[in-house]
């Protein structure tokens, strides 16, 4: 039996509203369908025009947000390097990371962006008859607010972030003894001239390395990381080690980070920012025949491809770092080698089979540790964060790995198959292109006595006379320190750090 008592006023009201609402909605939809004039379907030209406009707007939005994500790389570099620095130098390290941003930004406006588009044939720039060159000169129509151009500004913005990243790679290696003035000039040179020239050659669809040799470095293992590592090595040779890094007999000493968890946090910020870096290395194409994601050379790939290899390379690098670092299971090298794994896999991240990406990252991390040990024990180089190893050694290994494992894949506007020879030629070109400017310019600063801080300041700490102690509320435990190398004893000097 139907129970009338179950029909409460509330239920009745709700049922009534639902019924009336449905009736009105259906009636309105039917009336609208009868009255709406029939629209002719858009023609294919109109559809393509609409699709292209939509793609242009989406590209603008897409690159804009990759730029925002990439800021985290610089938050990460700052945190990471500050954690590695000793307490007496923390704020100076921060200021160095902050200071590189404005100088590299301005010099990437000119000449950086023009160099990228003009130097594709070598050292002789193309003229403004090339539309890309014409669009890249700073007083041109594309290099400012322009209602007809939705891509140049954000694309340049992505390259700005690449440039900061490249300069920041050197930044960590030289902490605790370089002068800010010398560092800023070197950062501008590396961040907006040196790396951008190699990018024009090997990271541009019309670059001569890609066009003639099929050079393939999709996410910039060599173009950004390798070249920055070579440049940094040139600077380190002239800069010399931190006081106390080597015993009088040349034995390297361990200068522990003042805050290791901060360093690890910094590395994780770098990893997060690198998702933006990876994404910004892809380009979205829309044409009458097809639409696709392409790598920086215009060759097809997908966002999924690079994600696969990013995380697999990361994993391989991290595992190798945990197993082979010295001391064993060292947190710093655990995470630094994860970064080395990402750097290694970047050149072929668009095409590698992900387990291959894992192995490339694993091997890259072993090479990274090997290079660091060699540099410290044989070359007597004091690379405070292992930048030459993590970025230089692993970066060039990544370029080589493409030639070993992915030869034959077409690259560049000419669709030239990548080869082992082409990858080796790229490495042989990039190493001197990075090393020589870094060595020569830092040598000039050294000759002018403007490269390195005075010994007295280095022993006491760079922060002492400018910023003071950054942890004034915490008691300061005696920390081990070491006497100056020249004529000093090898005994610890507690309390001087």
């Amino acid at each position: 039996m139907f129970d009338l008592s179950a029909i409460t006023p509330r239920r009745w009201a709700l049922t009534w509203l639902a019924g009336v609402g449905s009736f009105l909605g259906i009636s309105t939809a039917m009336a609208w369908a009868q009255q709406a004039p029939a629209q002719p379907p858009p023609g294919p030209e109109k559809a393509l025009e609409f699709l292209s406009a939509h793609a242009a707007m989406n590209s603008e939005v897409y690159y804009f947000w990759t730029i925002v994500v990439m800021w985290l790389i610089h938050c990460g570099f700052m945190t990471y390097e500050t954690g590695v620095a000793r307490r007496k130098n923390m704020m100076h390290v921060v200021m160095k990371n902050v200071g590189l941003i404005p100088v590299v930004t301005v010099s990437m406006y000119f000449p950086g962006w023009w160099l990228y588009n003009a130097m594709v044939d070598g050292f002789v720039p193309r003229g403004t008859d090339d539309p890309l060159v014409a669009a890249s000169i700073p007083w041109g129509a594309s290099m400012g607010p322009n209602l007809q151009d939705h891509i140049t500004g954000v694309f340049w913005g992505a390259f700005i972030l690449f440039s900061w990243t490249t300069a920041s790679i050197m930044s960590g290696a030289v902490i605790e003894r370089i002068r800010q003035g010398a560092f800023l000039v070197l950062a501008a040179l590396l961040g907006s001239v040196v790396w951008i020239v190699d990018a024009a050659w090997g990271w541009h669809p019309n670059g001569w390395l890609a066009m003639k040799w099929g050079f393939h470095d999709a996410i910039a293992s060599g173009v950004v990381h390798g070249v920055a590592g070579a440049f940094t090595l040139g600077v380190l040779f002239n800069l010399g080690p931190r006081i106390g890094k080597f015993a009088p007999d040349g034995t390297p000493r361990y200068l522990p980070p003042h805050n290791l968890w901060m360093t690890v946090l910094g590395l994780f910020l770098i990893f997060t920012g690198f998702f933006g870096f990876y994404a910004a290395c892809l380009v979205f194409f829309v044409g009458p025949e097809q639409w696709l994601w392409g790598n920086i050379y215009g060759s097809p790939t997908t966002l999924g491809s690079i994600f696969f290899n990013f995380v697999m390379g990361w994993s391989g690098g991290a595992m190798a770092g945990y197993m082979f670092s010295t001391p064993k299971r060292d947190p710093f090298w655990y995470c630094s080698c994860a970064l080395a794994g990402v750097v290694s896999v970047s050149a072929g991240a668009d095409i590698f089979y992900p387990p291959l990406g894992f192995l490339v990252g694993f091997i890259g991390a072993i090479l990274c540790i090997g290079w660091y040990t060699f540099g410290e024990r044989v070359l007597k180089v004091d690379d405070a964060v292992g930048a030459v190893a993590v970025h230089g050694a692993a970066g060039f290994w990544g370029v080589l790995a493409v030639g070993l494992f992915a030869a034959g894949y077409p690259t560049g506007a000419n669709n030239v198959p990548s080869t082992l020879l082409g990858q080796i030629i790229g490495i042989l070109v990039f190493i001197p292109l990075g090393f020589v400017p870094g060595f020569v310019v830092s040598w000039l600063f050294k000759r002018a006595n403007l490269l390195r801080i005075p010994e007295e300041v280095e022993v006491v700490g760079q922060d002492t006379f400018v910023y003071g102690d950054m942890y004034p509320e915490f008691p300061r435990a005696p920390e081990p320190a070491w006497a100056p190398l020249a004529g000093g004893s090898d005994a610890p000097m507690p309390g001087t750090r």
Partner: protein, 68 residues
């Protein structure tokens, strides 16, 4: 086309600069930017050099290596 905010907001100044690609305005501001940029580098190097010289001398004096 540039959106040319200068010409909209400050017509006389905008007319002088003829703001836009390859214009005198673009050239002048570009050259001024470069001048500030180069001067900034020189300023940082000189400032830092002076500061470090003072600090180094103070430390040497505290160590007794330099007679006041």
């Amino acid at each position: 086309m540039w959106t040319a905010p200068f010409t909209q907001w400050v017509p006389d100044l905008g007319a002088f600069f003829t703001w836009g690609p390859f214009s005198a305005g673009a050239w002048i501001t570009f050259l001024l930017t470069m001048a500030v940029y180069v001067y900034y580098h020189i300023w940082v190097i000189r400032q830092e050099d002076r500061d470090y010289a003072e600090v180094a001398e103070r430390v040497r004096r505290e160590r007794g290596e330099v007679k006041p």
